[in-house]
């Protein structure tokens, strides 16, 4: 029963998210936030505000997220359907994907590291400042 309840709660947030996305799209056609992201945000808000206990979604949520890669297999296999459309540019697209991932990863790493260092420096300064006052 516990697992059934957890599946229900997760599906509930998923459906709520999709409904919200549908509503947003009807009201503001230029904005596009996927229903899954809204569902994720809603569940996070429910958890943070303690309306929902972590224990109410933990088993199923952890099962799904710790085996995530498995659920992507059908989507990955379906790439085969598009190989024909891509044919002449397939190799070039793969090259672009690989190069851009390396490029992005390098700059993300550098910017994150820089921000972390900056943040720590600011914190230290703040601390020193408050120490001085004390």
């Amino acid at each position: 029963m516990k697992i059934i309840k957890q599946i229900f709660i997760i599906l509930l947030f998923y459906v709520l998210g999709e409904m919200a996305a549908f509503g947003i799209k009807a009201l503001f056609p230029t904005v596009f936030i996927p229903g899954t992201i809204i569902g994720l945000a809603l569940m996070l808000v429910a958890l943070l505000s303690k309306k929902l206990k972590l224990g109410d979604v933990d088993d199923v949520g952890s099962f799904l997220t710790s085996n995530m890669a498995f659920f992507f297999i059908p989507a990955a296999v379906s790439v085969l359907e598009y190989v024909n459309i891509l044919k002449t540019s397939f190799i070039r697209i793969i090259a672009i994907i690989v190069l851009s991932i390396i490029f992005s990863f390098t700059l993300v790493t550098l910017s994150v590291k820089a921000t972390i260092i900056l943040q720590e420096k600011l914190k230290k300064k703040k601390q020193e400042g408050s120490d001085h006052h004390a």
């Binding site: 899954t36 945000a41 943070l48 995530m68 659920f71 059908p74 296999v77 992005s104 994150v112």
Partner: protein, 229 residues
């Protein structure tokens, strides 16, 4: 004979085959520790081989697997669980996460435009590849809005995610990067959900940060796309 064929073309058989190939991929990776043998990649390639060699109807086979595919939506929602478990750490690092997500989205778009022109790709294909760093639903919307082709975008997003989840761990190993925040940001902002799956495998903190990065990188891509014409 007919019964045999019926069993082989049943939905249960398709799902069982997927499970077996995935388990085999996991076993292979455990034995060899060779990063190209990710269970997802191994299972995908084996299934593709099976479809081609056994001459299976692609559309029918994918419908058989729709039972697995069904979980993708609830799965993204469930990311709230690992995120919640690391919420203090995420709050503390929200600034680096926001910066990294934005940088991830911008650099991916710039790289695609520059490389696409350099490689002489069709304009429509370049537009289809531009949103590749974001999750599929966002990528589709962005692609259609700027003039890309939906099906190419879907294929490219999946390929990006799978390729990223394979090559980034190699880079991490070479550069000896151990900080879970950087591991999570690197995977989440370049290879979204599949990257997050990999990050969760490496470290719980990295996984949670990757989950947040996936959300913000998607949103950043959508925002930047408003300025592309």
């Amino acid at each position: 004979m007919i019964i045999m064929r019926e069993i082989l073309s049943s939905q249960a058989f398709g799902i069982m085959l997927t499970l077996v190939f995935y388990l085999f991929g996991g076993w292979l990776y455990k034995k060899t520790r060779f990063p190209l043998f990710s269970p997802l990649l191994v299972a995908t390639l084996l299934l593709m081989g099976y479809i081609l060699i056994a001459d299976i109807d692609m559309a029918v086979f994918l419908t058989d697997l729709s039972g697995i595919h069904l979980f993708l939506g609830p799965l993204i929602v469930s990311l709230a669980v690992p995120i919640m478990k690391q919420i203090d750490l995420i709050k503390k690092n929200i600034l680096p996460i926001l910066v990294g997500s934005f940088v991830g989205a911008v650099t991916s778009i710039i790289a695609v435009i520059v490389l696409g022109r350099w490689f002489n790709l069709d304009q429509a294909i370049i537009y289809s590849v531009i949103p590749k760093a974001s999750t599929t639903p966002i990528a589709i919307e962005v692609s259609e809005k700027i003039g890309g082709i939906r099906s190419i975008t879907v294929a490219v997003v999946v390929m990006t995610a799978v390729i990223g989840a394979v090559i980034i761990p190699i880079i991490l190993k070479i550069l000896k990067i151990k900080d879970p925040r950087i591991i999570g940001m690197g995977l989440g902002s370049t290879s979204q959900a599949v990257g997050t799956a990999k990050a969760l495998e490496i470290d719980a903190t990295a996984g949670a940060i990757s989950g947040v990065a996936l959300v913000f990188t998607g949103i950043a891509t959508a925002l930047i796309a408003l300025f592309i014409h």
